[in-house]
Amino acid sequence: MSFLSASFLRKAAVVPALVGAMMLTACGGGSLGGGSGGSGGTSGSVKIGLSVPKSGTYAALGKDMEQGFKLYLTQNDNKLGGKTVQLVETDEGNGPQTGIPATERLVTQDQVSAVVGLVNSATASGLANTFNQNKVPLIVANAGSDKLVDTPSDYIWRTSFTNGGVNAPMGAKVKEEIGSGSVYLLGSDYAAGKEQVGGFKKAFTAAGGKVAGEEYTPPFGATTDWQPYLNNVRNSGAKAVYVFYAGSEAVGFVKQFKQFLGGTGIKLYGSGFLTEGSVLDAQGDAANGVQTSLHYSDQLDNPKNKEFVKAYSDAYKTSPTVYSVQAYDAANVLAEALKKADGTTGEAIGAAIGKVGQIDSPRGTWSFNAQHDPDQKYYLREVRVVDGKRVNAVVEELKAG
């Protein structure tokens, strides 16, 4: 009988062992009480969480964000608003399945006073309850879904953009450029693609523009061949194409557009993500002349940006992207809030973010609107070669959409 009980003992050991493993990470004290709120770290310091993708498809964006955020810390002696920062980092991964637990850990286990980051909109939406319940502010530094939460609270803020907002200013502009001609719309077939293209479409049709056709292609790298769609574009007689693509799809699309429609006189417009960051290098010559709308370009001619671009390039040997600026500004927002906040608890910081007013940013000054999204300028950018380097040259500031 002894061997039987031995095998059972081993099994019996499993549950307590697992629970014990969790105990090692626990503070004890039970979980039937109310939400705690970031405890705020020791006096003179503040604990901040950074949740960006370090693995998976969005690792490159995550790196830009991490570098932007850390640049601000380096420039300010690792302090935000006079408080020394204890930074706790985590990996957001590819989507909510990894992003939500990892970020929850920052709030409920590491007890940070605020969290910055999040590339994925679903991850951000899925975490809203956690931040509201625990009274810890979340500063979303990328995720762009038009409506992140139903009602804005002290604990959900965004320094990036809304998908529709980026493209709306292009509506009137494209109408002005092509006059009575029509535009063909193409985008990635998921929520962000539809919101981005939708933002343009709404403003464009409101300005009296005509839509020649609208198609959404399988998302997340599944589309590698745009020739059939470009064929439809040609047959539709459209004068221009307006698109949203990012990552590898942005590269593939721009190259094939040049291949199949180059020389036809059909113009390519799009959301700024089409030509932002490393995809521009990968697109090469094919990107020349593409016009896009975005709230930033490293070519912006203002003193704050010049200083930022120089510091960033010196530190990381690469140019900053819109993702770097969004995270850099998130650090700036936290610094301003901590100056005004009564203490370093999540609750105090959350309330203070509402009072930060204008943020002096490399993208130009901006402030939070009633939805807690940035009220900011958008720029018309054109891909040009400047001093031997392919860049998003700033053509003009776009009028609000």
């Binding site: 081993r10 969790m22 980092e89 590819n94 399945q97 679903a122 962000a192």
Partner: protein, 352 residues
């Protein structure tokens, strides 16, 4: 030499003599010990919110919901010999159904659980009629297609929030008209209840004559047919039951996360659920549950602090497990028990 067939998925041909899948039928005392152990484990798990802080309790809630999904994969893969990547489709269906019930109908947790389970059951029945006509690798690919099609449907539909996911789900309540639960400790107890119910039903199933028929199909479908069994019906019932169980797990997932996204019915989740079964020991209940816990701990706990290297660490664990645990985690206790002597079918006493 054919596609993944029944024998191959379950018997480890590394050993020369065909080893029994299960330990001996253990006799009364062993069964009582198993029951006692289950009760002790349940009591320990139930006491957790009293002394653990919110984060580990949330983690345990996630583990329990995922583990129930893994058990549903095991019922098909381990017990019936049908390797599946399709259970996340029913898991997601249950999760979305519970979430939508919460938003539009009632916060009552029992209602959400029943609705989610029934929706998943209906979906599993309809798709199962098609899927169980195949087996082995083809079955695996058909179930992958089910998952992909369900995933894309969730991404495309406005009702489910598309790729942004379904948010704004209110907290569950237990009593009719009661207050919504917000605190993670109470949520955990609900998830634990669903988990225990699901596991209990599964144990009852695999010990029933139905469970014996499932193992019969796994160990030789032709033989079953030869003695006049209608294997199609057995497989369809097993498929539908497993789908319902996955849906039930999905409702528990929604209860604790209050959020569902298309990723909850994606290939990546299907793959780690299937690997958890192999890692834990296909054809036992307790092994895959333990494996599910380890997999989630590595992905969410170690992955979060390992500077993005969570996937690599999990990969190493899987590779090592292939060589160090030839019969999965459950094999740790079975190796010795098996020495008693081979019995062709079922060691009921072996399941938690």
């Amino acid at each position: 030499m054919s596609t993944i067939n029944n024998e191959k998925t379950t018997v480890d041909p590394g050993t020369k003599t065909p080893a029994p899948r299960h330990a001996v039928r253990g006799g009364g005392r062993r069964r009582w010990l198993g029951l006692l152990l289950a009760v002790v484990a349940l009591l320990v798990l139930a006491s957790v919110p009293l002394w653990l802080s919110p984060y580990p309790v949330t983690m345990l809630s996630r583990i329990l919901a995922f583990a129930l999904l893994v058990v549903s994969v095991d019922l098909l893969t381990g017990y019936t010999g049908l390797p599946t990547l399709g259970q996340v489709a029913y898991f997601g269906a249950g999760a979305y159904a519970a979430g939508l019930t919460g938003i539009y109908l009632t916060t009552n947790a029992f209602v959400q659980m029943v609705v989610g389970t029934l929706v998943a059951a209906a979906l599993a029945l309809v798709t199962g009629i098609v899927a169980v006509r195949t087996k082995g690798f083809v079955f695996l690919m058909v179930t992958l297609a089910i998952t992909e099609l369900a995933h894309k449907q969730a991404e495309a539909m406005a009702l489910t929030g598309g790729s942004n996911g379904l948010s704004g789900i209110p907290g569950i309540s237990i009593l009719p008209g009661g207050e919504p639960i917000a605190l993670v400790g109470y949520l955990y107890w609900w998830v634990l209840f669903v988990f225990a119910l699901g596991v209990a039903l599964s144990v009852i199933l695999v010990r029933s004559p139905m469970g014996r028929s499932m193992r019969g199909i796994r160990d030789g479908e032709e033989r079953m047919r030869a003695i006049g069994r209608r294997t199609f019906m057995v497989k369809l019932v097993a498929f539908t039951f497993a789908g319902s169980l996955a849906g039930m797990a999905g409702t528990a997932w929604t209860a604790q996360a209050r959020f569902v996204s298309p990723g909850d019915m994606a290939f990546a989740l299907a793959a780690i659920a299937l690997l958890s079964v192999v890692f834990g020991g296909a054809g036992t209940i307790w092994g895959p549950i333990v494996a599910a816990a380890i997999v989630i701990l590595i992905r969410d706990e170690i992955g979060a602090i390992a500077d993005g290297r969570g996937g690599m660490i999990l990969g190493f664990v899987f590779v090592l497990a292939v060589f160090l645990l030839p019969r999965g985690i459950a094999g740790l206790s079975r190796r010795r028990a098996a020495a008693v002597g081979p019995t062709p079918i079922a060691g009921e006493g072996d399941e938690l």
